[in-house]
């Protein structure tokens, strides 16, 4: 009797674990099936090479490049903000800061990642853009720059905490050897600690890029709804995610070609982030093996 109960419980728990596998299968199936209906009408070549994205206008073009350009632009800006600051924080907290300071500051930094993204969108549109407009004349009310900067602030904790963990995992003996040779902390950090933790740091940067690509509300609110093949950060752009929000919050009828664009763009987004996440996972696995 007791044995039967144990057996049932184990299978029940297994079932719960399998839900995660079903989620992945569900995502892949839904995106593929719906994207196939889209690609029956629009050729994949057009989708990947047409330089205009205007499915909601009367003259329809279905080229994903402008959306990719918008996504790329906001992501690059975000990384340019987050990587140096995040690394600075990681180096300071792991190599310089007193332990008590570290303990109080870490939860505060984690708050940056806890703020809902819609709130960041508000900041980008209502605080950062008006401020930047004073410095940069010609900055549009909606632009890639503010959205990218604020997105960068949001992903700082991802880079800082993962990189700090990587730096922290470097064995003390390596550092002590460097100090023993007369190195300063700066020399130790750049010549010993960072190279030893490089895979963990790389993994954190890739994960942050993937986060930025998939981030939705900041760009939907502050970057605009103008898909264009531009790399000009002071102009409005549209990202893949912002486009999906635009279609979903409008009244595009379900089942129409216009609506099915969200699956075609969705699968592009999924593939892009999936590749990045896999690389990050693989790189960080490798570094875990290094010192264990």
């Amino acid at each position: 009797m007791l044995k039967a109960k144990e057996y049932i419980i184990e299978k029940g728990l297994l079932l719960c674990a399998l839900i995660t596998a079903l989620t992945t299968i569900g995502i892949i199936l839904v995106l593929t099936i719906e994207a196939i209906t889209f690609f029956k009408e629009i050729s994949l070549v057009d989708f990947l090479t047409d330089t205009q994205w205007t499915p909601l206008y009367s003259e329809k073009h279905f080229g994903v490049l402008p959306l990719l350009a918008g996504t790329f632009l906001t992501t690059v800006i975000a990384i340019l903000v987050a990587l140096p600051i995040g690394m600075g924080i990681a180096i300071y907290l792991s190599e310089y800061a007193p332990k008590s300071f570290r303990k109080t500051i870490k939860p505060l930094l984690e708050l940056l990642a806890a703020v809902p993204t819609v709130v960041y969108g508000f900041f980008a549109l209502m605080v950062v853009t008006p401020f930047l407009q004073k410095i940069i004349p010609g900055l549009s009310g909606f632009n890639a720059l503010s959205a990218g900067i604020v997105m960068g602030v949001m992903i700082i904790p991802f880079i800082s905490s993962m990189s700090e963990d990587a730096l922290h995992a470097v064995p003390k003996s390596l550092r002590e050897a460097a100090y023993g040779m007369g190195s300063t902390r700066l020399q130790t950090v750049f010549k010993v600690t960072i190279p030893s933790a490089s895979s963990g740091i790389t993994a954190s940067a890739i994960l942050a890029i993937s986060r930025a690509i998939g981030e939705t509300m900041i760009v939907a609110i502050a970057a605009g709804q103008m898909p264009g093949l531009t790399f000009n950060p002071i102009k409005p752009v549209q990202t893949i995610t912002a486009y999906i929000v635009q279609v979903s919050s409008g009244d595009v009828p379900f089942g129409s070609l216009e609506h099915s664009t969200i699956f075609a763009t969705g699968i592009s987004l999924f593939v892009l982030t999936f590749i990045l996440n896999s690389i990050s996972f693989w790189v960080s696995k490798k570094y875990h093996r290094q010192y264990e």
Binding site: I19, G88, P107, V119, L186, I244, G266, L269
Partner: protein, 284 residues
């Protein structure tokens, strides 16, 4: 200046750069919060919290939005906590090394990185259309539950891993079965870690906007939801809707609604940190 002094200077420069970076993130956060408080505090009163949405900014309130958020919070918790903890227990205690466990682990790591809007597309097809739940609270909560499952599973596994082996062995030695050991020893001993993870996951769910827009949560809902099958709106969507409008009055409303949302999220994070610190002190 000799070499040693130069090196010392460079070393100090890096130190101050680090301090600057650490503070810059926090200062950005502080500026944002102060700005929000200055914009929104004037609007935040009892009437704002208890009023239905309206076309007129000065009459509009967030009653349907915050009740929707509370509904979504509770339903998501009910769905995600048992499944997530059970999955975590299975992976950590029953099947730690098998091929299946390995595959599931990679899968969960990947799921944690899937953009939230993709979960919205999944929810739209599976819950809204195939299971025919429509743009209901239940469809939204299922979608968010899937979104936070990886966080809960990872937190559960980490918490269970910290339970000393000796406790388990003592329990087995007294003749307890595997499940008796897990339910009476392992889970109570790892409770604080699991609770911390669950709270952080739910705080993420409360702030999510994009997936619920995709599954069709509405911006304008003129009634308070009474059953899980009702249509709904939530605070983030209400904020998004108000931010997108040109009238200044709605911007003020958005700021006031953000104060309520941030209050909710920060309190949850505070509680999570408190529980974690308390457990750490106990462990030492």
């Amino acid at each position: 200046m000799n070499n040693a002094a130069k090196n010392k200077l460079k070393d100090n420069l890096l130190k101050y750069f680090g301090i600057l970076c650490t503070l810059s993130g926090l200062i950005a956060l502080a500026i944002f919060i102060i700005d929000i408080l200055m914009d929104g505090l004037q609007r935040l009163d009892w009437e704002f919290i208890t009023s239905l949405p309206s076309r007129f900014p000065e009459k509009a309130g967030i009653l349907t939005a915050w009740t929707g958020t509370v509904w979504v919070f509770c339903l998501t918790a009910l769905i995600a906590i048992p499944i997530g903890v059970a999955a975590g227990v299975y992976l950590e205690e029953y099947n730690k090394k098998g091929a299946l466990a390995n595959l599931l682990e990679i899968n969960i790591a990947n799921l944690a990185g899937v953009p939230s809007i993709i979960y919205g597309i999944l929810g739209l097809e599976i819950f809204v259309r195939i299971l025919n739940l429509g743009g209901s609270l239940l469809a939204g909560s299922f979608t968010l539950a899937l979104l936070i499952l990886p966080i809960i599973i990872v937190a559960t596994r980490e918490a269970i891993r910290t339970v000393p082996k000796t406790i388990k062995e003592a329990s087995f030695a007294l003749g307890a079965t595997k499940w008796q050991t897990i339910s009476r020893q392992v889970l109570p001993a790892s409770a604080s870690g699991i609770i911390t993870g669950v709270i952080l996951a739910l705080s993420r769910a409360v702030g999510e906007t994009a997936p619920l827009i995709v599954i069709g949560a509405l911006a304008y809902v003129p009634f308070v939801a009474k059953t899980p099958m009702d249509e709904f709106t939530i605070l983030p969507i209400q904020i998004f809707n108000w931010v997108s409008r040109p009238q200044h009055g709605f911007i003020i409303n958005a700021a006031a609604a953000i104060i309520v949302l941030l209050g909710f999220v920060f309190i949850m994070n505070g509680v999570a940190v408190y529980i974690r610190n308390k457990a750490q002190r106990k462990g030492q």
